[in-house]
């Protein structure tokens, strides 16, 4: 049977507030255990939560960025369950009145197609602490530094139809929250964690199949693998006329498999009710407008502008607009170069290759955008050839300074004086009489290939500085 895959994602984004969502403790990552947990985070008796308005501002920003309706009144609820890293015995979250209501996100796929994915809601909540099972010999350590870190849980509609779409959605979400500056988006530190709801149904069937939820997947790669693994598992079961159990599963990256965590029968009854320690959060249109005025240009708008303003392809525009740093770098380079297409090629080509090799972010590039742009402009004004430019780029990467300095100090300026080139060509022909003879004896079809030898020799003799077009032209004249 042909199966259709249905996927919905719940993404937890850690908001980049300085202090926690309900206490004044710092949210910085990596401090030694329990040094960033105050009496409120430890749920000491009599302690009370005070809402950090910065988290609200960030949630509203996100809502506006995805065209969602913003609740003028949102309510915090208690989600009750016992776990050692949940100090109060309940998590403060939003159930019936989330800050962000329905919105949508556009995604673009590698095959050039696009799709709009519905976002059901996004609500504010606090993160739990961490249970540490290693190093404690039969005991569990609790680190509450993370407890109370603000999270925005973004829930998608079941609009995704493949692991690829899920990843595209997640990447777009990542680019939106980092554009907005509301999260560092660092998945390796858990700043973005994803629960994937996966189900299958016979193609053409309207109602959904039974779904499973894969908890806490924390990289783009794992999301894709976990979903595909789960699709395979479910397909196998359904093909054998089996039934899918509604349950929570964990993805084991080492074994590339998902396994059952708990089934629905053992699911918690969270007994949500409004938190009486916190007042409903009430905001007005003026507040929403004020937040709106602080929104930066968002990835989707930037993508469109890149295509229109710079004439970039869909693919190039998508890649270059995927992160704010990348887009800013590209625009600065394009402006210095006076040629957007060449700038795009360099940013996505040599620069990206070098960054990848050394595992650097574009913001950490040793070559400033302006220098890359200048380098490109030197190709355009024929000061250097494209080939020499690669050497100049390497020198720039190694910290040898601006392109002009490098070209100057290494004497890399292109030779365009035809007299000088002619002299070199004459020398090359004189040094290779045999090849000249062969060339002249050959027919037109073969000559095309053979001329390359002379170009190479000439370029070599000029230390790469001779203008290749001129070399070609002069060679053809002299050989004919």
């Amino acid at each position: 049977m042909a199966w259709e895959v249905v996927i919905g994602l719940e993404v937890h984004v850690q908001l980049a507030t300085r202090s926690k969502i309900f206490s004044g403790a710092s949210t910085a990552f990596g401090a030694s255990p329990n040094t960033q947990a105050c009496a409120v985070d430890l749920a000491m008796p009599g302690m009370l939560p005070v809402f950090n308005e910065e988290a609200l501002r960030m949630a509203v920003k996100f809502g506006l960025a995805i065209g969602a309706e913003i609740s003028e009144r949102s309510v915090f609820d208690r989600k009750n369950y016992f776990y050692p890293d949940l100090p109060k015995g309940y998590q403060i979250s939003q159930l019936d009145h989330p800050t962000v209501k329905a919105g949508s996100i556009d995604i673009h796929l590698a095959d050039g197609t696009g799709k709009t994915i519905g976002v059901t809601r996004a609500h504010l909540e606090e993160d739990a602490g961490k249970s540490l099972h290693e190093d404690f010999h039969g005991m569990t350590g609790i680190d509450l530094n993370r407890a109370g870190t603000p999270l925005l849980e973004i829930v998608s509609e079941p609009d995704l139809r493949s692991a690829k779409e899920a990843v595209a959605y997640l990447k777009k979400l990542h680019s939106i929250v980092t554009y907005l500056g509301i999260s560092d988006g660092d998945m390796s530190q858990g700043s973005m964690r994803c629960d994937c709801n996966v189900s299958l149904r016979p193609k053409g069937q309207a109602e959904f199949g039974t779904r499973t939820e894969i908890k806490n997947v924390n990289s783009f790669k794992f999301v894709e693998k976990a979903i595909n693994t789960e699709i395979e598992r479910q397909t196998d079961i359904l093909e054998d006329d089996g039934k899918i159990t509604q349950e929570t599963r964990l993805y084991d990256a080492d074994k590339d498999e998902t396994r059952s965590m708990r089934s629905k029968e053992f699911a918690n009854d969270y007994r949500y009710f409004p938190d009486p320690d916190l007042l409903p959060v009430v905001i007005d249109q003026a507040y929403i407008e004020a937040v709106k005025s602080t929104l930066p240009e968002l990835p989707e708008a930037k993508l469109k502008r890149f295509k229109e303003q710079y004439g970039l392809s869909d693919y190039d525009a998508e890649i270059l607009s995927s992160s704010r740093q990348q887009a800013d770098y590209f625009e600065a380079a394009a402006s210095a170069a006076g040629d957007a297409k060449l700038a795009a090629n360099w940013v996505m080509g040599d620069l990206a290759k070098n960054l990848n090799q050394q595992n650097l972010e574009i913001s950490e590039s040793p070559v400033p955008a302006e220098h890359l742009g200048l380098l490109i402009s030197r190709i355009k004004d024929k000061t250097i050839s494209g080939k020499i430019a690669k050497d100049v780029f390497t020198a720039m990467w190694n910290g040898e300074g601006s392109p002009d300095n490098i070209i100057e100090s290494k004497g890399l300026k292109q030779v365009t004086d035809s007299g000088a080139i002619e002299a070199i060509v004459d020398q090359v022909l004189a040094d290779n009489p045999k090849q000249v003879e062969q060339y002249r004896a050959a027919d037109e079809a073969k000559r095309g290939k053979m001329v390359g030898f002379f170009v190479g020799q000439t370029m070599k003799a000029s230390k790469g500085k001779a203008n290749p077009q001129q070399v070609n032209q002069i060679l053809k004249q002299k050989l004919s």
Partner: protein, 483 residues
């Protein structure tokens, strides 16, 4: 000296008739003498109290005296006090020494008050008789075979027995007013949000409110002045400006309309209490007030609604006591579930467990709408009853309790009977209104409590009405003879 009002004591301190150290030692002596029988105190902070009194005397000397400089008070054992055991009368917290100070007790410290110790109470403030304490029941100083009321029973009994000048209490469904009535003292439950809850161990967050327990409305006014005010660390504390309560005590009652909610004067009311109330009503008429009957039609629904909402909130509030971070932990837990179950089974008393179970039940999937949501609807109806009534009258006058202090053990076998003790105090708690309980008579040597209910943030009017009554009567000056 032990039964003097705070203003008399302050006067004595200013006139140097006695020092705070002498006053403090006098109360400590009485505590040593009577606490064994009454069991009002869980912790007696003798050394700190004397030290604080010495400091207070010095400050008074230098002219830097605070509003309560050198006045010995006691705090209910659910206010966190830095460095001093704060047990909530529970085995669960029988080893808990907070590293921080509650806003209420901090304000007392800043006003120069001397803390004599921490008073006994019903465990986690759950109870109406003070029999639910890990540290044993408190006895009523008027008759030690009877209960002092609860949950602030230790505070009420300590004030009534002259073991402190005043005490703090908290009121969730009547926990200040009912023990005040049973012990013949004056107690105020302020408007919800008037006093910060920070550092007050929570029972039911939407209802809990701290308040003063003292010998008179006048003393309560002074204490409220110290306690009231916005606290940025408690989101539910009100921004509303704080009135000058003591300055407002001289107002005449002429032109004031007092409502009698007819639902409170029913056949369930003890006839002696009914008689005492009629006398009080006459006194108010003679003070110039107009009396008018009003109706609070949803009164009978208040107890069931309260016993859904309060346990629901408590079930979550008490989840933090899990044996993981502080407080009691059971011996050698086998695994996590064993740690949770035995810690909580051993740490909580029967009434606390009962309310956690009720609360968990009413919030459960499938029951939420039938119980919790219905109860919230009732809560709104009850609030509307009061809003309506306050459209017609300035204050409400009614009994605080349906009967006087009952014998120890007489109601502890029947929780529902015990819950009905709070029928006259619960509606105001659900509505979040301020109410003052003050003595208005005696029946067989036991105090009878009058209750005045005010509109939101009208504590000044309430205290003035109580003070005017106490200028005409001397019930508040009666005190028990201790054996």
């Amino acid at each position: 000296m032990s039964f003097k009002s705070i203003s008399e004591l302050l006067n004595g301190l200013t006139q140097k008739e006695f020092s705070s150290v002498e006053l403090t030692r006098d109360y400590l002596k009485r505590i040593q003498q009577y606490n064994a029988e009454l069991n009002c105190f869980i912790t007696i902070a003798e050394d700190q109290a004397v030290e604080a009194a010495e400091t207070a005397d010095k400050r008074r000397e230098t002219g830097a005296a605070g509003l309560l400089e050198g006045i010995p008070v006691a705090h209910k054992d659910l206010f966190c006090t830095e460095g001093t055991l704060t047990s909530c009368a529970s085995n669960m917290l029988s080893n808990f020494i907070p590293p921080y100070e509650s806003t209420v007790t901090r304000r007392f410290l800043e006003a120069g008050a001397v803390c004599l110790g921490k008073t006994n109470m019903d465990e986690f403030a759950m109870g109406s008789s003070n029999e639910n304490s890990h540290f044993g029941p408190v006895r009523n100083p008027w008759d030690s075979t009877r209960v002092p009321g609860g949950s602030s029973g230790g505070s009420a009994a300590a004030v009534a027995a002259g073991l402190c000048a005043a005490a703090t209490g908290t009121d969730t469904g009547g926990s200040i007013r009912q023990p005040a009535a049973f012990c013949g003292i004056t107690g105020l439950k302020p408007t919800y949000g008037r006093i910060s809850r920070l550092g007050m161990i929570a029972f039911a967050s939407s209802l809990d409110q701290a308040g003063p327990m003292a010998r008179s409305a006048e003393d309560c006014a002074l204490l409220l002045q110290v306690m009231a005010g916005h606290d940025p660390m408690d989101s539910t504390s009100a921004q509303q400006a704080v009135d000058q309560y003591s300055h407002n005590l001289g107002s005449e009652l002429k032109g004031l309309t007092i409502g009698l909610p007819k639902e409170y004067y029913n056949e369930g009311l003890d006839p002696t209490i009914g008689q005492a109330l009629q006398e009080a009503i006459k006194t108010y008429e003679s003070l110039g007030a107009t009396i008018k009957e009003v109706s609070l039609p949803h009164t009978s629904l208040s107890v069931p609604a309260y016993y859904v909402i309060a346990p629901a909130e408590a079930s979550a509030n008490l989840a933090r006591f899990d044996g993981v971070r502080y407080g009691k932990r059971c011996d050698s837990p086998a695994d996590l579930d064993d740690l949770y179950m035995r810690t909580r089974a051993e740490g909580f008393g029967a009434e606390v467990q009962r309310r956690i179970l009720i609360g968990t039940y009413v919030l459960s999937a499938g029951y939420f709408d039938a119980y919790y949501r219905q109860a919230q609807k009732i809560r709104r109806l009850i609030k509307n009853d009061f809003v309506e009534a306050f459209g017609q009258v300035d204050l409400l006058l009614c009994p605080t309790t349906p009967d006087c202090a009952f014998p120890l053990g007489s109601k502890s076998a029947d929780p529902v009977q015990m819950y009905l003790e709070d029928i006259f105090t619960i509606p105001t708690s659900l509505a979040g209104l301020p109410a003052l309980a003050l003595p208005c008579g005696q029946a067989n040597g036991l105090p009878i409590g009058l209750q005045l209910i005010g509109n939101y943030f009208q504590e000044a009017r309430l205290l003035n009405a109580g003070h005017q009554y106490q200028q005409r009567t001397d019930w508040h000056l009666q005190h028990p003879t201790l054996g």
